[in-house]
Every structure is written in structure tokens, then in C-alpha cells.
Symmetry: C2
Subunit: 249 residues, 2 copies
């Protein structure tokens, strides 16, 4: 989708609030209207624009009520720098499909023994002998950098940027796929909500109250759900905080 | 800077055009006004908003003319998915500074012999024995994925996402630094423009005309500049196309 059209859409606070709401659960117009404090007419107008752009979709349930939800994964990146105003947007392809086109991406960023920064990116077909940018970065400003080296650096950094973007789109697709599978585990008991809680704890332990604020749900509902997840052996209590039960903990 | 405020700013087509123009060269109000076909008053209003947000800055030259330019590196990422509406924005820290805080980032995405997808991310302090998510992805929908594995995947994917974002901010800072150095090489002969041309060729060979469209400059000016870069041994002609001279070519 066109980045400019996407920025026009996202430049509106109410549309952003609608997307945030729909990312938590599918909603019908009256619900959105009440949540936002905006007239149903205005909500319908926003939804139509989001629908036209392919960002949201709707389905009608048994009670003939029309529910809106976010249609698919989309990622937008904007770079602003003295040399660039760049925008990039892309749907994340299927996690399974995407990976075949760039079998191996490696990024190594470190500081070698001499205190120099090094960066290397191995492209799809260059994994064993990945080109390497060893930059003599003596920290002196105005040091006489070899022009050829600088040009070679630009080339590598451009490629690295593209590969990192692809990697991020892959991660996004994989996150959605994994959250789908977690939801499927809890069918009937609002699996999406359980998935949200798990994701909310992925960055580290949290108190039930902090988690409730994060997923924007009532604290007692979150407390109940955490007990449910604990019964599945997925989370555990750690004092007044909760954390995920994983091998990496 | 606040992502919402940034999206509000970027949601305006004329402000995006101003940023695109300033990323090519510092400009004064009348120049911008003529380029955009918008009144100086409106341009001043846009510039004030961009200035307030720290996106542009101005300096007055010898002739007392006020020039505007893009102030610094900034990156915005927006994730839209059925489970998320997330925005993230950050200034890219100094390329030298940033690297000390995450000495080693490695990403390996591939498809192992059994046809399974694997992803691993090595964090700052876990490089030798980076945790690894080996996901038995049999391609079956509704296959009974172990909940513990899925939770562990979420944790790893979240961390990978953060590390990739940091890596991209590092790349952005490094690109700007490298373009600064290239510009310094051509002091007096519009080094910024030479830097643009080099970056324009970083993705592969181009004809002079295609490159002229890309950097939005007159074809004869681009042709002259390419001859200049060729004299420096930085680019070379390949039939009717131009390409960078690097070890990786």
C-alpha cells in the first residue's frame, strides 16, 4: 500500500484510536462510537476510509451485527535524516513464504580489539564469506577517510537496512501467527485476551495492575485470567508480580 | 519524540514534501514556497510546526538569509496487525555511543534440513549460547502446538523485534555519518549531491537518466557529476549504466 496514503490515514488521532481498539477485539460501530465519544456517522466515515485502504475488514455475526477488525499485518517505516526523508510500507508476507527468499541474514555489530566499529551483513547468497565493512573509525573528526571505503560502507549499510526491514516484516508475521495459535489453545475463553496477556509479560515480569493498564482491561478480569494461565503452567507468581514460565526465565 | 505528534505532523502532504525537499538541500522560505506552489505564510506555518517538534532547524547565512534543514536522525515504525496497533519512534543515537550498549546482535533465520523454520536472537549478554526457538512448524493448520513453546516463541520474537529496531537506528546513524564524511571529501563542489548520487547507486547500476529522476536533479547536472565521481575512481560506466566501484561489485 502507498506510504503517503497510509500516513494520511494515520495522521488522524481518532483513526489511530479505532485501530488501537480493533487490535484488542473486533467491534461494531456503536461500541466504537461510545468508546471514542464520537458520532456513529463520523465512526462510519473513518471505518470506510480504513476499509478502502485494506486496513480493516468486517463480518456479520449470527445476530446480524457487523463487526470490524484489522484485516492484516502491515508495517510502515519512516526515516528522517539530514540526507533522507524516506517512507517504506509493506504487508508482511506469510512467515513460511517469506523465508525462502532470504535464507540467511546475519548481522554482526561489535567493537573489535582496536576499538573500531565493525559491521557486516551476509546476504542471501553470501553467508560463508560475508563482505565486511571494517571502518578505521579513529574517533577523530575530519580524519581522512578513504573515499572508496566510504562508498563501500554506504553499499553495505543500504543492504543491511533492507535486510533488517525484511527481518522485521518476518518477525511481525511470525508474531501474528504465534498469537493465532495461542488464541486457538483457549478457544471459547477469549484466547485473544490470553494472547495479549502473554505478550504483555514477554518483556519481563509485571504486577497484575500494571498489566491491566497495559492491556487496558479491568484489574479483576486480568487477575482471573492470570490464575487461568497459571493453571495451564504458562505464567507464575513471583511475589506481587507475574512472569512467564519459559526455559529462558 | 511522541509518535502520535509525529504522525500528526507527517499526516500532511505538504509537510512531507517540505521534508523531502530539505533532505536534498537546506532551503529558505521563498524557495520552498515556489517549489510547493504554496503561500509563504503557509510554508512558515508548516516550518514552525516542524521546528517545534525538533524535526527542522534553521541558520542564517552571510547574506542574512534564513535557511532551514532537517535537524537530526529520527525513525518511526508503525505496526498494524490483528493483534497490534503499535508505534515506536526514536532519534538515532550516536553511532559510536549506541554500539557499546548492545555489543553483539545476531539474527539467524533459515530453514533447517527438516523444513522447519528457525529463528534465534542473541542478546547483548548471551552471544555464545543464544537461546533458540526451534519451532516444529509442520505447516498443518490447527496442529497441536505446545503452549509452552508458543509462549517461549513470543518472548523471543519480542526481543528480536526490539533488537532489529535498535539495529536499524544504528544503521541510520551510521549512514548519516558516512554521508557526512563523503560530503566532506567534496567540499566546495556540493558534497551532499555527490553523496546522494553514491547512495542512489548503492542498490545497483542505473542509467544517468534514471538516477537523475531518483535524486530529482537535471540529467545534464547528474551526467557532469558522474564524470566527476568517475575521475575520483568512485563510479564507472557500464554500457549506458553507471555503477559504484567497490570490492563487492
Amino acid at each position: 500500500m502507498d506510504s503517503a496514503a497510509l500516513l494520511d490515514l494515520l495522521g488522524n488521532e481518532n483513526r489511530r484510536r479505532i485501530l488501537r481498539l480493533l487490535s484488542r477485539k473486533p467491534c461494531y460501530v456503536t461500541e466504537i462510537s461510545e468508546y471514542l465519544g464520537v458520532s456513529p456517522k463520523a465512526v462510519i466515515d473513518h471505518l470506510r476510509k480504513l476499509d478502502d485502504a485494506g486496513l480493516v475488514e468486517s463480518h456479520v455475526d449470527d445476530g446480524r451485527r457487523k463487526y470490524f477488525s484489522i484485516a492484516r499485518n502491515l508495517r510502515l517505516e519512516v526515516n528522517v535524516s539530514p540526507y533522507e526523508f524516506g517512507t517504506k510500507s509493506a504487508y508482511s508476507a506469510s512467515p513460511n513464504l517469506d523465508i525462502t527468499s532470504w535464507r540467511h541474514v546475519s548481522l554482526h555489530v561489535g567493537r573489535d580489539a582496536g576499538g573500531n566499529d565493525t559491521a557486516s551483513a551476509g546476504g542471501a547468497d553470501s553467508s560463508p564469506d560475508a563482505p565486511r565493512a571494517d571502518e578505521a573509525d579513529e574517533g577523530g573528526n575530519g580524519a581522512d577517510h578513504d573515499l572508496g571505503d566510504l562508498v563501500s560502507d554506504i553499499e553495505q549499510l543500504e543492504r543491511l537496512e533492507n535486510e533488517l526491514s525484511m527481518a522485521q516484516r518476518w518477525v511481525q508475521g511470525r508474531l501474528t501467527q504465534t498469537l493465532d495459535r495461542i488464541s486457538a489453545h483457549f478457544e471459547g475463553v477469549d484466547g485473544r485476551f490470553y494472547g495479549d496477556l502473554i505478550r504483555g509479560l514477554a518483556g519481563g515480569s509485571e504486577t497484575a495492575d500494571a498489566l491491566a493498564r497495559r492491556v487496558d482491561a479491568p484489574p479483576d478480569v486480568v487477575a482471573d485470567a492470570l490464575d487461568g494461565l497459571a493453571a495451564h503452567g504458562v505464567v507464575e507468581r513471583d511475589g506481587d508480580r507475574w512472569r512467564l514460565v519459559t526455559d529462558n526465565a
